[in-house]
C-alpha cells in the first residue's frame, strides 16, 4: 500500500496535487517580488523628484560688474559705513547708460541681488588697497534672474504673468551675450546660514546646528544608554521592579516624539531656565527620545553574548565587573554602536519635538557654540518649503538631498560596523 503511494509522487511525472503546490509556491515568490519592486519604485520616484527639483540649486547665476571703488566714498573711518549699494547701482548704470527713467533704473537694479553690496564690502575689507581702482567683481544675480536662467520662469508668457519685465529680459540677454551673466558652482549654499533672499540662503547654519545638537545627544545618550543596558542585563535582580522598568522602556520607545518636546519645554526651559532655540535644549530633548532605542539595542546585543564567555571569565577568578568590562562589553559593542547610530539617524531627522522648544526659527548667524540659537537640517527644510519665493523650492530639494546623504552615510556605517565586527558563535 505504501509503495503505491510513493510511486504516485514521482517527481518526473508530478501529480495534480504536487503541481498545485509548485504553482502556489511560484505565486508566493512573485508576490514577494512585487512587494519589493513596488517599494523600490516608490523610493526611485522620491529620489527622482527630489533630485530633478534640487540639482539646479548647486548652481547659481552671477553677474560681472566693473566696480569703481571711488576714493571719496571711503572717507569715513570705518570701511563698513561706505555706501556699497550705491557702488553697485553706479556700476549697473555705467554698463547700461541708456537707462534713465527712475522706474527703469529700479528695474535694472533689481537684476542684482541685495547681497552684492555685502560682497563688495567683503572685497574691500579683504584688500583695502583696491580703493580708488576699478575692479571686475562677480556678484550674485537676483533670484528671479536665476529662476529665468534655470528655465523655471517661462519667457514666452505675456509680461504681466511673469516676474521679469520685457526690458529686464532684454538686459539679461545682453549680459549673457557679453558673458557677464554666468552660472557658477553655488559656494554660498554651503558657506552661509539661512536668509530671506533665496540666492543667499545656505545650509551651513543648519548643518552646524544639527552637528552640535547630535553631539550633545550622543555624549549623553550613549554612556547613559550603555550603563542602563549593562545594569539591567548583567546586574539587576529578576523581580517585578525590573519587569516594570523593562515595560516602561519599551513603552517609551513607542511614545510620539512631540511628547518629548513638551517634556523638554516644561523641564529644561521653564524649570531649569535653559535658553530657548539652542542646541543644548535640542540635544537634551533628543537624548530623551533616543535613550530607549539605545537601551533596547544594547540589551539585545548583550543577550547575544553566550553565557559560556561569562562563565569562563568567572571560572578563572574574574570579578563580575571585570567579566563585564573586559569580556562581555567589548563583544557586545558592535551591536550597541549599530543601535546608537540608528538612534542618531532618527534624531537627525526629527522636527516635531524641536517645534516645542523653539528650534523652528529664522536664524541667520551660523551657531558657534551649544548655547547659540540654531536650527537643524529638517527644520531648515520645513522653513524653506514654506517660503513664498519660487527659488526656495529648489533649495528645499537640495537641503533634502543633503539630509538624505547624511542619513544614508550613517545607516551604511551602521551596516558596515555590524558586518565587520560581527562574531558568529
Amino acid at each position: 500500500m505504501n509503495t503505491t503511494e510513493t510511486t504516485k509522487t514521482n517527481l518526473l511525472t508530478p501529480t495534480k496535487r504536487l503541481k498545485r503546490r509548485y504553482r502556489a509556491e511560484k505565486w508566493f515568490k512573485r508576490l514577494g517580488l512585487t512587494a519589493i519592486a513596488l517599494s523600490l519604485s516608490f523610493v526611485a520616484f522620491l529620489f527622482f523628484t527630489i533630485f530633478s527639483d534640487g540639482y539646479t540649486a548647486f548652481q547659481q547665476s552671477y553677474i560681472e560688474l566693473d566696480v569703481h571703488f571711488k576714493a571719496e566714498e571711503f572717507t569715513q573711518e570705518k570701511l563698513a559705513s561706505a555706501n556699497y549699494p550705491g557702488l553697485v547701482k553706479e556700476a549697473m548704470s555705467t554698463m547700461f547708460p541708456e537707462v534713465t527713467s527712475r522706474q527703469e533704473k529700479k528695474q535694472l537694479y533689481n537684476l542684482i541681488s541685495p547681497a552684492a553690496a555685502y560682497k563688495l564690502q567683503d572685497t574691500v575689507e579683504a584688500d583695502p588697497k583696491i580703493i580708488g581702482t576699478t575692479q571686475k567683481v562677480w556678484v550674485l544675480a537676483d533670484d528671479d534672474v536665476d529662476m529665468l536662467m534655470k528655465g523655471k520662469i517661462d519667457r514666452n508668457l505675456s509680461q504681466g504673468d511673469r516676474r521679469i519685465r520685457n526690458n529686464q529680459l532684454a538686459w539679461i540677454d545682453r549680459l549673457v551675450k557679453e558673458k557677464r551673466l554666468e552660472m557658477k558652482f553655488n559656494k554660498t549654499f554651503f558657506m552661509t546660514g539661512d536668509s530671506r533672499e533665496p540666492e543667499l540662503a545656505g545650509i551651513l547654519g543648519a548643518v552646524k546646528g544639527s552637528f552640535l545638537t547630535l553631539l550633545i545627544t550622543l555624549s549623553l545618550s550613549f554612556p547613559i544608554g550603555v550603563a542602563a543596558a549593562v545594569y539591567l542585563e548583567e546586574f539587576a535582580p529578576e523581580n517585578k521592579w525590573t519587569d516594570l522598568i523593562e515595560i516602561n522602556i519599551n513603552n517609551l520607545a513607542a511614545v510620539p516624539s512631540i511628547i518629548f518636546g513638551l517634556l523638554g519645554l516644561a523641564i529644561f526651559i521653564n524649570f531649569w531656565g535653559l535658553p530657548r532655540s539652542t542646541p543644548v535644549v535640542g540635544g537634551l530633548v533628543l537624548t530623551l527620545m533616543t535613550l530607549p532605542t539605545i537601551i533596547i539595542a544594547g540589551r539585545a546585543s548583550l543577550k547575544s553574548v553566550p553565557p559560556s564567555i561569562r562563565e569562563a571569565a568567572l571560572g578563572i577568578g574574574a570579578s563580575k565587573m571585570q567579566t563585564v568590562t573586559h569580556h562581555v562589553l567589548p563583544l557586545a559593542m558592535p551591536g550597541m554602536l549599530t543601535g546608537t547610530i540608528i538612534g542618531m539617524a532618527q534624531a537627525l531627522g526629527e522636527t516635531a519635538p524641536l517645534l516645542m522648544i523653539g528650534m523652528v526659527a529664522f536664524i541667520v548667524d551660523v551657531p558657534g557654540s551649544i548655547t547659540d540659537p540654531a536650527a537643524v537640517l529638517p527644520v531648515q527644510i520645513y522653513l524653506w518649503a514654506d517660503s513664498p519665493e519660487r527659488a526656495f523650492t529648489e533649495k528645499t530639494s537640495a537641503a533634502i538631498m543633503i539630509l538624505l546623504t547624511f542619513l544614508i552615510t550613517m545607516n551604511s556605517l551602521a551596516v558596515f560596523l555590524r558586518k565587520k565586527f560581527e562574531t558568529k558563535w
Partner: protein, 347 residues
C-alpha cells in the same frame, strides 16, 4: 574604558554648567506667520548691515506669540511679538498679570487676503455675500429667509446664478491661523451682515451671531490645507476648480500660475489694498516690551530699521516682499511712537 568615562563625565559637567548662563545678546522675536516673512527680512538686513547679532524669529502664530510674550519680563521671554491682528484685552490682562505692563504697539502695514485659483480658468467675480453663502456652516433658507439651514450649496452657480457651475472647493488655513481669523471676520462676517436678521442678531444675541458668521462648513467643501501656503499654490495648479485662501505675498510671488478672485469689483492688487478699496485686508502689528529695550543689545537698532522709510516706505524692501505700506501720516505717527517708546494703554 577610561576614554568613555571621561566622555561621560565631561558630558555631565556640560549639562550641569549650562543653566548658570543668564544674559542674552540677540533679540528674540515670536509671533504671526503672516508677519514672519517681513520681520525676517528686516532682521537679516539689520544683522548684515550693523554687524550686530541677527535677531532670532520664531513663527508661532499670533495667539502663540502673545502667550509667550506675555509670560513675563526677563531674558527667558521674547522681546517682540508679531501679530496679524491687534492684541486682545484678555491677552493684555495676561501680560499685566505677569508684570508685562509697558508695551509699545507698532502697526507696520497691511496685508490682503486673497481667494485665488489657477490661471488656466477664468477668474471669479465674487461678493462677500457669495463667500458667506458658499462657506458658512449654516445659511439662510432661500425658501424661508428668516430660518437657518445646513449649507445646501454644491456649486458656485447655486450660490449666485452669475457664477460658473463648478463645484465649490476651497483650500484654506486651519482655525489656529491668524489668516483664518481675519478671513472669517472680514469676508464671511461682512457677507453675513447683508442678511438683515443676522445683522440684527448682533445686538440681541452676540454669541449666536458670532457662531453663524464665523463657523466654516465641515462637509468637505472647505479643506484645511495646513499652514503651508506653497502647498496650496501647488494644489491649485493641479485642480483648476479649487480656490485657495492665503496672504497677498503668495499671490504676488506666484502671479504667473494663479490669479486672485475679484471681490466686490476690486481685484487684489497692491494699489487696491494700499488704498483700502479691496475689502478683505487687515493691518499687521508688532508689540515691543519696553522693559527690554535698554537691556537687550540691538533693540533700538532693530526698531529703527523696521520703522525706516527704506524698509516700510512706499518703495521700501518690505513692499518688494509683498507687504502693503501704510499711508505717510500713519507711518510718521508710528515712527514717532517708536522713537519715544510710547506705551499703549492697558485696558
Amino acid at each position: 574604558m577610561k576614554v568613555k568615562s571621561i566622555l561621560a563625565a565631561s558630558a555631565l559637567t556640560l549639562a550641569m554648567t549650562v543653566p548658570a548662563m543668564a544674559a542674552r545678546d540677540y533679540i528674540s522675536i515670536v509671533g504671526s506667520s503672516t508677519v514672519y516673512p517681513f520681520a525676517t527680512v528686516v532682521a537679516e538686513q539689520f544683522g548684515k548691515t550693523t554687524g550686530s547679532k541677527t535677531p532670532k524669529i520664531e513663527s508661532t502664530g499670533s495667539g502663540g506669540g502673545f502667550k509667550l510674550f506675555c509670560s513675563g519680563v526677563g531674558v527667558n521671554f521674547p522681546d517682540i511679538t508679531n501679530a496679524s491682528r491687534a492684541i486682545k484685552s484678555s491677552e493684555m490682562k495676561t501680560c499685566a498679570d505677569n508684570g508685562v505692563n509697558e508695551i509699545v504697539e507698532v502697526k507696520i502695514g497691511y496685508d490682503g487676503i486673497v481667494l485665488a485659483n489657477s490661471k488656466t480658468v477664468a477668474p471669479l467675480n465674487l461678493t462677500r455675500k457669495d463667500i458667506f453663502l458658499a462657506l458658512a456652516k449654516e445659511v439662510p433658507d432661500p425658501a424661508n429667509p428668516e430660518k437657518l439651514i445646513a449649507n445646501p450649496y454644491k456649486t458656485w452657480k447655486d450660490v449666485n446664478s452669475a457664477l460658473p457651475a463648478t463645484k465649490i472647493e476651497v483650500l484654506g488655513p486651519p482655525p489656529t491661523s491668524g489668516t483664518r481669523d481675519a478671513f472669517v471676520e472680514l469676508a464671511m462676517e461682512n457677507g453675513a451682515k447683508t442678511f438683515d436678521f443676522i445683522k440684527n442678531m448682533k445686538a440681541t444675541d452676540k454669541k449666536e451671531y458670532k457662531k453663524i458668521c464665523h463657523t466654516v462648513r465641515e462637509d468637505g467643501v472647505y479643506i484645511e490645507a495646513g499652514e503651508n501656503d506653497n502647498l496650496i499654490v501647488q494644489k491649485l495648479q493641479a485642480n483648476p476648480n479649487a480656490l485657495g485662501i492665503f496672504g497677498f505675498s503668495f499671490l504676488d510671488q506666484n502671479a504667473d500660475v494663479i490669479q486672485g478672485a475679484v471681490i466686490e469689483g476690486e481685484a487684489p492688487t497692491f494699489e487696491g489694498i494700499a488704498k483700502g478699496s479691496y475689502p478683505v485686508s487687515r493691518p499687521l502689528f508688532f508689540y515691543v516690551k519696553k522693559a527690554h529695550v535698554d537691556v537687550i543689545p540691538g533693540m533700538k537698532g532693530y526698531l529703527g530699521e523696521f520703522t525706516s522709510e527704506k524698509a516700510w516706505g512706499e518703495s521700501g524692501y518690505l513692499a518688494d516682499k509683498g507687504m502693503i505700506p501704510m499711508p505717510e501720516e500713519e507711518r510718521k505717527m508710528y515712527n514717532e511712537n517708536v522713537a519715544s517708546l510710547k506705551i499703549m494703554e492697558m485696558k
